[in-house]
Amino acid sequence: MAAEVLTLGKALNLGLRRALERDAKVVIMGEDVGKLGGVFRITDGLQKDFGEDRVIDTPLAESGIIGTAIGLALRGYRPVCEIQFDGFVYPAYDQIVSQVAKMHYRSRGLVRLPIVIRIPFGGGIGAVEHHSESPEAYFAHTPGLKVVTCSNPADGYTMIQQAIASDDPIVFLEPKRRYWEKGEVDAEAPAFPLHSSRVTRPGADVTVVAYGPMVRTALDAATAAGEDGRQLDVIDLRSLSPLDLSPVYDSVRRTGRCVVVHEAPSNVGLGAEIAARVTEECFYSLESPVLRVTGFDTPYPAARVEEEYLPDLDRVLDAVDRTYGW
């Protein structure tokens, strides 16, 4: 396959297909993933081509999905579980946090649970409540889990395959509002390590750290700032646990200014962790404190006011400005 232009949704679908082809132990399971192909069609056509044994429509219970995936993993399978929306992962929280995350440790490495938990996450699609959550901090704070998120089709295609091939249990967050955004996917492109961040747009003035749905927002801000003569160094974290902050440190040592952007509430979020570590590593380089542009510390609001809640280009630029005023 040469490079193709695909939506993120289609790139993920293709990545899943490759994973199913490559390893007969890979199974996809979740609500409506079979005949329907998932409510976002990310598993579209997979049951038809790989059968009901490999792409499994499950009963409607998230704890059951993850709990039985653990059993399947113990039996040698590599389950890829779809949670239909971010807000519906919580019934499975116990199985994820107390079982998936801990089994390798408590067995002193004798048990591996190569489970991928796919979750469409984040807001911006005008949905009703529980359909726009950003639960990444809950998982990143949980030792034993790894957490990644993709921001574009090329990464989505590669990362979903890497996640499935990994023996670590991985929460794979998909920025649902970006499912329809297009980008080039080159199946032959050289691979990068799954848990690596990437400088997406270089710039010398202010370091902007983002991930998932907010990378697009950060890039738009960078374009706007560029027009005003300020160059933003935009870093896409990709991996939320473990964090790969070396490129961020390098950048901040040059820029002296750092803004972190995410949709999740600010309080005890990823932004806090990044701010704390960047400050510790780059203490004498910082011209101003690391600033956070995030969702507010309220529940996710009604669709008609979600734009007010979500970080946007202007709020990013405002924070960039504030790193100068300090």
């Binding site: 609500e31 409506d32 079979g34 005949k35 329907l36 192909g37 409510v39 009901e52 044994d53 499994i56 429509d57 499950t58 009963p59 409607l60 219970a61 704890s63 059951g64 807000g87 519906f88 919580y90 019934p91 005008g126 949905a127 009703v128 409540e129 529980h130 359909h131 600010s266 309080n267 507010f296 510390d297 309220t298 529940p299 609001p301 009604a302 669709a303 008609r304 006011v305 979600e306 007010e308 809640y309 202007d314 709020r315 405002d318």
Partner: protein, 378 residues
């Protein structure tokens, strides 16, 4: 895991409680699996009222679907096909009873005498379904599957604590949920709690045969109403497209609960004639023939046939009901179009009864930030 053949859209179960056949034949009395006898004794006016409810509820639902298509609602979860299950059970409630709905109980809400506009702000995205559940004796719409069944059970435990069970004026609770919801741990825990505490709650499961794309066989191998016995309370399957039987069974279960006899599980056997929501495309997962077969069991048509045959209603009445319903729907539409968007800054309100300094600060900063744009070209 082969796919189960779905040839019999209609429950062939002997135990299905029915008082009005799909052809509009009235059955005098029906017997439930535990021998309970069900019947209704309605006046002509009451029959006509039921018919009016069914038609109005369907018409309002169609209006909401249209509003969504026109971009006026973000999404809509249609009750098409489930009108009898909702009107029958909704009308069986006494004023003091409490309802815990899912996101599809527009018909029950209507039967409670609540303005049908109430949930539309939720689907429009103006708010998240912000009403006072106690005032309306109608809980908040609940999207997380099954969660409300535990709330219903706890509320019912509170009724017992308050000494409001045991007499005819006792209170009861009804918890609505779907066939898919029966797989959730929470729903099964609600069964356990309600049995252990003899809570006055009726579990009303609308088995509309699907949880989005998944047919009922993905949730159970045996009829759902049978689940109850193993938890220690009665279960009954009623023809959910038969408004009379649904009324009779629900009324009986509610009175059983309010009398201090504990919970009942009602499985209202029905069919979701439309899509799961306006975002769904059922042609991907179910055959047209199946939907057509269920058309023959339409809950409104069968009541109309009965009313005509019994000369309780004539063409003029039916036409008048349609016209009234149309007007109600037009009125609803007008009011949806003029719904106000939430005030800027309101996203910071009502996070906590006692507020939070963190939020006050965020709100103040945001207001300041907003002001910085004022007068600017932006």
């Amino acid at each position: 895991m082969p796919e189960v053949a779905r040839e019999k859209p209609v429950a062939q179960d002997e135990t299905l409680v029915q008082l009005l056949t799909p052809d509009g034949e009235r059955i005098d009395r029906a017997t439930g699996p535990d021998g309970t006898e069900y019947s209704v004794d309605f006046t002509d006016d009451e029959y006509r009222d039921l018919y009016r409810d069914l038609v109005t509820v369907r018409r309002l639902d169609a209006e909401a679907t249209a509003l969504q298509r026109q971009g006026e609602l973000g999404i809509w979860a249609s009750l098409l096909g489930q009108e009898a299950a909702q009107v029958g059970s909704g009308r069986a409630l006494r004023p003091q009873d409490m309802v815990f709905p899912t996101y599809r109980e527009h018909g029950v809400l209507y039967c409670r005498g609540i303005d049908p506009i109430m949930p539309l702000s939720l689907f429009r995205g103006v708010d998240q379904g912000a009403w006072d559940p106690i005032k309306y004796r109608f809980g908040l719409y609940t999207i997380v599957i099954g969660a409300q069944t535990l709330h219903a059970t706890g509320y019912a435990m509170g009724i017992t604590k308050d000494g409001k069970v045991g007499g005819d004026d006792g209170e009861a609770v009804i918890a609505y949920f779907g066939d898919g919801a029966t797989s959730q741990g929470d729903v099964n825990e609600a069964f356990i709690w309600s049995a252990v505490y003899t809570a006055p709650v009726v579990f009303f499961c609308q088995n509309n045969q699907y949880a989005i794309s998944e047919p009922i066989e993905r949730q159970t191998r045996v009829p759902l109403y049978q689940r109850a016995a193993g938890f220690g309370f009665p279960g009954v399957r009623v023809d959910g497209n038969d408004v009379l039987a649904t009324y009779a069974v629900t009324r009986h279960a509610l009175d059983h609960a309010r009398g201090g006899q504990g919970p009942t599980l009602i499985e209202a056997y029905t069919y979701r004639m439309g899509a799961h929501t306006t975002s769904d495309d059922p042609s991907r997962y179910r055959p047209q023939a199946e939907t057509e077969a269920w058309q023959a069991r339409d809950p409104i048509a069968r009541l109309a046939t009965f009313l005509r045959r019994q000369q309780i209603a004539d063409d003029a009445f039916l036409a008048e009901v349609d016209e009234e319903a149309r007007k109600t729907a037009v009125h609803l539409r007008e009011r949806v179009l003029t719904m106000e968007d939430p005030a800027p800054g309101s996203i910071f309100e009502n996070v906590y009864p006692h507020g939070s300094p963190l939020l006050d600060e965020e709100q103040a900063r945001f207001a300041q930030y907003r002001q910085s744009f004022e007068g600017s070209a932006y």
